[in-house]
Amino acid sequence: MSETLPATGLLAASWLLIALPLAGAAVLLLGGRRTDRWGHLLGTGTVVAAFVLGLACTVQLAGVDGRSVDVDLFTFIQTGSLDVGAGLLFDPLSAVFVLLITGVGALIHVYSIGYMAHDPARRRFFAYLDLFVAAMLLLVLGNSYVALYVGWEGVGLASYLLIAFWYTRPAAATAAKKAFVMNRVGDVGLALAVFVMFAQLGTTSYAGVLGNVGLLAGGTVTALGLLLLLGACGKSGQFPLQAWLPDAMEGPTPVSALIHAATMVTAGVYLIARSAPIFDASPSARTVVLVVGAITLMIGAIAGCAQDDIKKVLAYSTVSQIGYMFLAVGLGPVGYVAGLAHLLTHGFFKAGLFLGAGSVMHGMGDQTDMRRYGGLAGKMKTTFVTFGLGYLALIGFPLLSGYWTKDAIIEAAFDRGGVSGWLLGGVAVLGAGLTAFYMTRLMLLTFFGRPRWDDGVHPHESPGVMTVPMVVLAVGSVAAGFLLVEVFPLADWLAPVFGEPAEAAAHAIPPLLVSVLVSLVVLLGAVVAWLFVGRREVPVTAPARVSPVVRAARHAIYADAVNESLLMRPGMWLTRALVFVDNRGVDGVVNGTAAALGGSSSRLGRAQTGFVRSYALGMLGGAVLVAGALVAVTAG
């Protein structure tokens, strides 16, 4: 870690980055219907302003010595030896994320003005989007793990609200709940990591924790790494917590683009990259990250091949691509920059793809089943071109964004050397082939072939307010990779965080060979997709008789079924059993005691016969007893 300076000038006002969208959200939520008319403009305006401010801050940061400033705001919690300040850390890593979040966020806000134009609750939508942007910025700007946690759960809330935006649909409401709860499973990991940090080091700030990793015992570091990984898995939809992300597509498409593709789901990668010193100190934790990334990469790619819902394909693609990023950051110092570069380019092309998918849905009457598309290339030219560029970027078409960043990851995987290097590299290459397959399939089903539209659907191009952001993102999809690798090397920008980029040592395989190999595999995947889909007639309903492999892929390797049978059903059963135990058992004991007392008292009451003479006898007996006792006491 380099020396962190106190903030000056514009950077001291970087808290406005968070405050602006937050204020926007507050105005829109509290203002009620009065803000309906201009709410979307305010919502967009705050994010655009945040983007401009972020850009200015980044420019200023470039001139700061050590490129890391600390913005101390106020004391959040201070008691005993715990001292958590509310403060921001503006360094190259957070700057990159700020630009991604506000930049893509602003574009998607603009797009949403058109996309949500006919929704009566558009104002609420923009309020939630602003809330998300604010929470996400807090997540990446916070200077301690507690601040990160606050943002972390904040984006979870925004994601919940936005997935459930159309809450009258039970599927949306359920998906939102599922997302929140699975995220919370990850949050437990993150929370426990924070507890361990405090117990061991007495602080939760990045500076205090990451600067002192060396003091910790090896086992503690590994435990920390694994706990952080659990948190990252929940937020980023990584194995075994990946099942919520495809369901989250129930939300409006701009939400899928911003939250469930470009920004929030990449928070896990940010967390691991931010905690680099911890993972650097624990090879075993890093290995687990690698394994998680590789598994998720494959699960996402396989499941993506068999989906018919255009957004689900893109969602599984996101799962898979984040798997690549995890794989990259799991490789350690050589992979951080590659993973983050892929994160950025992915932010561009996946957001573009989702917006394109939204544009298609917009023109097709909210139909999401690709089997009912076809031949849209001519009807929606702008969408087709921008989507096509995003597609090429994603599959890694030479010289487009994905080519630069994904190849870098695959190279790094092979460079790990040994059996594991070959294995990981092989998985990554195979994943690239599958990506080409499912994306080509998506393209063919949507834009080519014979129209298979529903009756009464008249595809049309979307309005300019929607296509302009798509064009901008398409440009980013084409150019971002080249820019980030060759023109403004990300590795140099991030050097203060991760150290100087190591000089290319001996490569296991020459980079050129890797590129050729990957390109060939990608071509193979695309050709296979064409053989399956492009040259045959596509049935409008999915065939029921399919091989077990396809069935497994359709069900996303049965992740939901496993969750249901292992967790949900036993959980419900346990709950019912406990309710019974509590009502009959615990409360039964209480009520039983009461009943026993009541019963014995009524039984004792029977002694009250009503015969005066028996009472008299009782009195006499009592008097004799007392007298006898007196005698006994005085005599004894």
């Binding site: 030896s81 507690v146 943002g151 709940k177 919370r184 426990l192 602080t203 309710v579």
Partner: protein
Amino acid sequence: MSDFPWLLAMIVVPAAGAAVVAALPRGRDLLAKQVALGVSLLVFLLAVLATVAFDTGGPRFQLTTSVSWIADFGVSFALGVDGIALVMLLLIGLLVPVVLVASWADTMPAHRSMRSYVAWLLLLEAMMVGVFAATDVFLFYVFFEAMLVPMYFLIGSYGGPRRQYAAMKFFLYSLVGGLVMLASVIGLYVVSNSQLGQGTFAFDALRQLDIDPGVQKLLFIGFFVAFAIKAPLVPFHTWLPDSGAEAPIGGAVLLVGVLDKVGTFGFLRYCLPLFPDASRDLAPWILVLAVIGVLYAALLAMGQSDMKRLVSYTSIAHFGFIALGIFAFTTEAATGAVLYMVSHGIATGLLFLVIGMLIARGGSRHIRDYGGVAAKAPLLAGVFLIAGLASLSLPGTSSFVSELLVLIGAFPTRPVFTILATTGIILAALYILIMYQRTMHGPPRGVLLADDEPAAAVPAGTSGGATAVMDAPARTRSLRVQDLSRRELAVVAPLVALIVALGVYPQPLIDLVRPAVAATMDDVGSDPGGITPTHPGSEGTN
């Protein structure tokens, strides 16, 4: 002004107010409500002024008033507050007016008047202030028991269909606990008599005693049982779901929001300082109960169909967290526990109030009778969500700060218990979101569909809602599933604002309670300065 008897005034004013309201002629309900609201606002003002007069750097107990009461037994009417008691007084002062406004339009069961209801509320307020302000153990005991009476009538006279069962259960449970505690109180007197030569009930004197460990354990258990019943720890909890479900909403808010806090307050004020050795020895067992409570009650909450019961069970889970914070014996966790008491009072109070507003519209306490309410009443749904999120300790709400402090403070000394309790946050998300989804999301269901039917279509007796609603079906039916009224907004707004304010900037509250917490930790033999990390060498870099 600092020698003004703030605390005495805070007891006398509501008690006098209760007498005045009760003496009003029959039928003057509106006047009764106005008088009660005025009195409760005055108490709130007194609480705020008392907070201003309180000096966080001063001695432990401030604003003291002491009058000899039963001189023969060394009993005095001694009042005084530390920071912990003071924030509880603020909470009482805040919640009572809120509850009064919330109950403004309630219709009472047959033969019960609003006048008597608000009179009992004010009397309850006086008793609760007394409990938190007493610095004489005997006086504390008197208030502790006296507090039961108004609550008994609030539940038993103004509650739901099974109110008498619930009220009796509440009363008997509390009485058993109280009597066990009385034995310990007397035991303390005896010990003080033999050690000091003159028996006393004064807290400060009792704190100096050096009690034999065996005796300490017995006396500790006496206090502990009473407090564990009051702030229900599993397995002493079964009265709370019944009481919480049957009590009128206002009563339920005060019951769960404040009255139950006497238990956790008692742990901190009496169990730890008076019996430090016993506390240390028995802490593992109590922590077992606390963690069981966190998980067990959360699972039970998920299985409830009655919203008020559900919230009651969530409170039991929250009390588990508070107990964990107290019996971890670290400054951080105990601060968290105190904050938790406050934030739980606000958040769960708000949750109860919102559910009450929902019940007032739908006439049913059951989740299955609602669905899709958000479409008809977005404000109601929004406030419900905020209350729910505060209950599941989302960052940005006051509960997050307190839960974080409890867990982060308990982790260094009790890692296993803390890890188990931390998994409770998943369950919290489940029970809140399941309830929210079923009532607020989805297509219209239940009472929303019955909207156009004549009022008689839903027979009053079967809905199982608060009696307040069932006795006046015709009027409320036509009002239901409207969004929040101005009065209801006035009820929820201060609570929502506090939840957010304390969630973002909790430090003033922490500063208020920190000296008292540190003193308590000192009493129990922990480092009041907080936890020493395993690798303290890192401190300089923070």
